[in-house]
Amino acid sequence: MSELSQIVQFLCTGVTIGSIYAMVGMGFTMIYNATGIINFAQGEFVMLGGLIMVSLTSSAHIPMPLGFFITVICVMLIGALFERCAIYPLKKPSVLTLIIITLAGSIIAKGVAMLVWGKQTYSLPHFSGDTPLIIAGAAILPQTLWILGILCCVVYGLSLFFNRTMLGKAMRACAVNPIAASLIGINVRYMVLLSFALSAALGAVAGICITPMLLMEFDRGALLGLKGFCAAALGGLGHSGGAVVAGLLIGIFESFGSGYLSSAYKDAIALIVLLAVLLLRPSGLFGSVEQNKLKDF
């Protein structure tokens, strides 16, 4: 394999996994913007998405596209249920309380997933076969193209939603200033519910997309979530576009790092990036330093 084709190969792997981090990172951003909460259960949505899809398509033999929608809706309902049961009843919670609550949510999700699906690893068939395309000497799986395409659709869809629809604009208003938003008649609690549901949906999409390539088991969520948070932090917390770029970057770092440095330390790369961001530039690549100081963090 030539040097060039190797680089292309690493780049493709990186972009594939990076798209997943980007989607998870956007999920973090969405909830953070609406509520100021970092949802530690974000990674569990990815795991649930993957496993529910496996059950629907492999065990219940529902066709893939239909299974995709049912899975996303199921995980959305789970996200909304979590918000109603654990976040909604709180009165003036502290940051510490919120961290513990979302943490508890993530353990419950993991525990229930272990009871339902057991400890084994599951796989899904690739969306359209697994014969690789040869581009510049590198083997690229069609799934990579699917994932990139889905990421583009998600980003485009969300930008339409936030810029063109009344509901999306109302959510943005809540992100800017919840009190002002409620004064002009926006139901802020409903927007919080919606942000949890949407971010659960994003996690589910990421989970469905990555399961054919990485497989899925009940305890995968935490690490995927943490890496998604790395993307959100590197992009500047609260900055949705930043999370996408940062997610792709982290995926590429990780893939080159595991190729050229050491595959045993692959998982540490994103985390080192996170620590470096927190140390050097807590506002991230795209967030502004002044704005970061004002955040209720």
């Binding site: 970092i38 654990a86 502290s94 353990i107 963090f297």
Partner: protein, 319 residues
């Protein structure tokens, strides 16, 4: 010394001294040893969560750093136990300082995520650096507890060492909380801005508490390594950090006795519910959720309040 102020402490020390006489069964003594070890770590985490209002999701990493440092030093380099333990604590303190310094300038979620990431990195290193740490299979044959000429490798020996150290930790923490730093800490918890404007060095105090709590966790890890004589990367798993948090939340955040009460419950519960082993994760999650939502003060305060309510009519009658 003002005896009435320290009534609870003295009663506790007497209790600790007499419990081994009640339980002759080595199985119970063993559980008590573990409760002691976890109490040390949970008391440290409680200082951080309950008083500084910060959370660490990587405390298992400090525990593991303590265990591995002391274990490797005594096993491979024949360093005597007390010296190895001191080096292990110093190592954990340095690590905590390096992680905490950048993060504690920031607030809330950042320390949580940074400690989670740092903990995960240490877990990965313990698994991957096979020549040093033995990789996933861990290190066996760590020398057991020994102080100079005294061999303490019996159940009662373990019990004595662990609980003596816990009592020292408890007295130290209590003195810290009663000192200037303790008052500054409590002021932090009610309002960081107000505390800062009154001249409390907010970031420095948070960092000091974070380092102290990491040292407690490392001490617990050292004791674990030398009582069990075997360590594996499992000691650094996120789940153990979450168990420590559960202990603090159950016992009572910001209550000195919260750590030991929580540690006792979280250690004994799985032994009682061993039939529900598969449900462990769900049970932990539900306990955390229910405690935070309905009993945020923890069990210790709840019991205190119940007693006060019961006692109130009696007190009135007497006066």
């Amino acid at each position: 010394m003002d005896m009435t102020r320290h009534r609870d402490l003295i009663a506790f020390i007497i209790l600790v001294a007499f419990i081994p006489l009640l339980f002759k069964n080595p199985y119970y003594i063993n559980i008590l040893v573990f409760i002691g070890i976890y109490s040390i770590a949970a008391t440290g985490l409680n200082l951080l969560m309950g008083y500084a209002g910060q959370i660490s999701l990587g405390h298992a990493a400090f525990y593991a750093v303590g265990a591995y440092t002391s274990g490797i030093l005594t096993l491979r380099y024949q360093v005597p136990f007390p010296a190895a333990a001191v080096l292990a604590l110093a190592g954990a303190a340095l690590l905590a300082y390096a992680i905490g310094m950048p993060c504690l300038r920031l607030r809330g979620h950042y320390l949580a995520m940074a400690t989670l990431a740092a903990g995960e990195i240490i877990y990965i290193i313990l698994n991957a650096a096979v020549p040093v740490t033995g990789g996933p299979s861990g290190i066996a044959g760590i020398p057991s507890l020994r102080l100079g000429p005294y061999d303490l490798d019996t159940d009662t020996g373990h019990y004595a060492v662990v609980w003596c150290l816990f009592v020292i930790v408890l007295i130290l923490s209590r003195n810290i909380l009663d000192s200037r730093i303790g008052r500054a800490l409590r002021s932090l918890h009610s309002s960081e801005i107000a505390a800062g404007s009154l001249g409390v060095p907010v970031a420095r105090i948070k960092l000091q508490v974070f380092v102290l709590s990491a040292v407690y966790a490392a001490l617990a890890g050292v004791l674990y390594a030398h009582t069990v004589t075997f360590i594996s990367p499992q000691t650094a798993e996120i789940m153990f950090s979450i168990q420590l948090i559960t202990m603090v939340v159950i016992g009572g955040m910001g209550h000195l006795w919260g750590g030991v009460v929580g540690a006792a419950i979280v250690t004994v519960l799985p032994e009682l519910l061993s039939a529900f082993h598969d449900y462990e994760l769900v049970i932990y999650g539900c306990i955390l959720l229910i405690m935070v939502m309905f009993l945020p003060g923890g069990l210790v305060r709840w019991v205190q309040r119940c007693i006060e309510v019961r006692m109130a009519p009696l007190m009135r009658k007497r006066s």
